[in-house]
């Protein structure tokens, strides 16, 4: 009996620890700019009444989103750290590479975890590796959405690497 309680306690404790994502350690660091949008925010936004069709489209997409995390840094060391964490995560979470682009000296990699169908995305991870003065960007977006819906999101939200994501959506 005691063992059972111990196990339950352990599970509860570890749950609260693992509920945080692997990227949360980049939060609250001086050289890293963070943007985090939580599920509740998306839920609330989706309740706002839409006046026109374009906004409605946008709101329909927002309903399907859960979590957005963006980390931006110009610090080389932090950038390397981000890269290794992202690489590790891609392997452990079973993400597939969607595309890889080298543009203006920037390395952009996009990974996805697909859902029921090939075009349905459960998770999108993007890493833009900047060199020198260019900033590195790590972006993680979770939810259940269609790849081609992304373009309306990138248009409205002005996400980093939006133009690249747009290309990915058209594939």
């Amino acid at each position: 009996m005691r063992k059972v309680i111990l196990i339950i306690a352990l599970v509860l404790v570890s749950n609260t620890i693992f509920a945080q994502s692997v990227f949360d350690k980049f939060d609250n660091q001086d050289d890293i700019t963070t943007v985090i949008v939580n599920k509740k925010m998306f839920q609330m936004l989706s309740k706002v009444e839409a006046k026109d069709k374009e906004t409605q489209q946008y709101i329909n997409l927002i309903k399907k989103l859960e979590n957005l995390k963006v980390f931006v840094t110009a610090n080389d060391k932090k950038s390397d750290d981000m890269k290794s964490v992202a690489d590790k995560y891609v392997r452990s979470a079973g993400l597939e590479e969607l595309m890889r682009i080298t543009e203006k000296g920037k390395n952009v990699k996009i990974y996805v975890k697909t859902g029921a169908t090939d075009s349905q995305v459960k998770e999108l991870l993007m890493f833009i590796e900047g060199s020198g003065k260019e900033e590195s960007v790590l972006m993680s977006l979770t939810g259940t959405f269609e790849l081609d819906e992304l373009s309306s999101l990138t248009d409205k939200m002005k996400l980093p690497g939006g133009d690249v994501l747009k290309k990915a959506g058209k594939k």
């Binding site: 001086d30 963070t34 985090i36």
Partner: protein, 178 residues
Amino acid sequence: MRVVAFLAIALSLLLFSCNSKPSLQKYFVDHQEKPGFMVVDISSNILNVNKAKLTAEQTKVLSSFNKMNILAYKLDPKHKGEFDIERKKVNEILKDTLNYQQLMKIGSGKNGASISFIGEEDRIDEFIIYGCKSDNGFAVVRIMGKDMNPADAMTMLSVLKSSNIDMKQLEPLKAIMK
């Protein structure tokens, strides 16, 4: 039997520890008199709207909004340590995600802003906006009401547009902006 007793103790400890956590309310009360801090209460009549002109929907939305509480701390270069300590205290309070559900957050280390809320997503009792700037200070804004609904945000905006904000209530804040 021993198991039940153990569980009861564990649970009571858990609940107790929840209760003894510092709340924002307490933080506001504890710090309003301290040097460097400023607390301002703003009631909903600051909007100074002509209630006769409002639609039924607008009136309903306006009545769900109660008051606003602002706490601001201005950084004193002589007491840099104090700023760090107080900033951390507020961060600790807001980290309690059981009470304060975070909506979004933006920032880098010492600079940043976040929005959280208390209540359920379509019946919100309180919005908390926190902002911090490493060379300026920090501020916490609590927007309190009863059953505020984010779906009404647009209606609230229309009320704000027809409002005639009473600047006198904001006067104390000017001092800290300087």
